[in-house]
């Protein structure tokens, strides 16, 4: 339901250190703010204004980085009429897998060797890195790269809004240069 790992981590960290409900909730919200541009950039690919608001909200709620990244990668090879179906099946499948994984992982984490657990934790960001870096658009690759380059410095200065700033600046620069990089 919270559906975003960084937000969950921040929420758990602040809640467990007694920083208060408001601080934990606000930090979680900031960490998960990326869902706004993700939803806005993704929904037009599977729906449009003729859909009801309830439908759009449901499709938005199902979105995660996994489904966003995978669909961005696969949609060019899928007919537009089939993209919504693909997304719904994919998103629901991974939601069920996530629920099952949470249950299994909660119990298995204490039984598995630490090295294996670390490999499993690592697989999530690794999946994002592999899928997103394989985007066909040079402008998107540039945006990815700029976000990566900017965040270490931003994280040191603005730890709670570093993603937002990196996104806004990196994305805007990539957008301005999009025609130049696509020609290459």
């Amino acid at each position: 339901m919270i559906w975003g790992l960084p937000g969950q981590l921040v929420m758990v960290e602040l809640a467990s250190t007694g920083k208060g409900v408001v601080a934990a909730v606000f930090a979680c919200s900031l960490a998960n703010a990326r869902f706004l541009p993700m939803v806005v950039s993704f929904l037009p690919q599977i729906a449009n204004r003729s859909f009801t608001l309830v439908q759009l909200i449901i499709y938005a709620q199902l979105l995660s980085i996994n489904s966003w990244a995978m669909c961005q990668r696969q949609f060019p090879t899928i007919e537009p009429a089939h993209r919504l179906f693909y997304y719904l099946v994919f998103a629901t499948s991974i939601l069920l897998a996530a629920a099952a994984g949470t249950l299994i992982g909660y119990h298995a984490a204490v039984a598995l060797p630490n090295a294996l657990v670390l490999g499993l934790i690592f697989s999530s960001p690794l999946f994002f890195a592999l899928v997103l870096s394989s985007t066909a658009r040079n402008a998107h690759r540039l945006a990815l790269l700029l976000g990566c380059l900017m965040v270490p410095g931003l994280h040191a200065i603005f730890p709670s809004i570093d993603l937002l700033i990196a996104g806004a600046i990196g994305g805007s620069v990539a957008y301005c240069l999009r025609k130049r990089v696509e020609r290459e």
Binding site: M1, I2, W3, P6, G7, M11, A15, S16, V21, V25, F26, C28, N32, A33, R34, F35, P37, V40, S41, L43, N48, R49, F51, L53, I57, A60, L63, P113, N114, A115, G119, I121, F122, S123, S124, P125, L126, F127, F128, A129, L130, V131, S133, A143, L144, C148, M150, V151, L154, H155, L163, A166, G167, A168, G170, G171, S172, A174, Y175, R178
Partner: protein
């Protein structure tokens, strides 16, 4: 922390995350379709996710922080080599990366 407070945090976080998706759905429903705007927002999304992934891999707040930067960077490198060596196979990249990290973590 009391049970009630914990529930408050969880429910609050659900709402605080949902609000972004709600605004997003409203935007698509009521904004006139403007390709330039959506293209810009796509770029912003990729930049934000690039920042997030770099943070998760190289500035981790999870248990991955117990591993050195060199170990994590090596595993990421092996993952990408396997990914491209097997013609952009996600399975090869995932197995290569996760397995190399586990092995490096075990011998560290």
């Amino acid at each position: 922390m009391s049970s009630a407070t914990l529930w408050g945090v969880v429910v609050g976080s659900i709402a605080a995350t949902f609000v972004w998706r709600l605004i997003g759905a409203f935007t698509v429903k009521f904004l006139r379709e403007d390709h330039a705007l959506f293209e810009w927002i796509s770029c912003v999304s990729y930049a934000m996710l690039g920042a997030l992934i770099l943070r998760m891999l190289f500035l981790p707040e999870s248990d991955l922080a117990s591993l050195s930067l060199g170990v994590r960077a090596t595993a990421v490198g092996i993952a990408f080599i396997a990914y491209y060596a097997f013609r952009q196979s996600l399975l090869a990249g995932m197995i290569g990366g996760a397995a190399s990290l586990s092995i490096l973590a075990a011998i560290q």
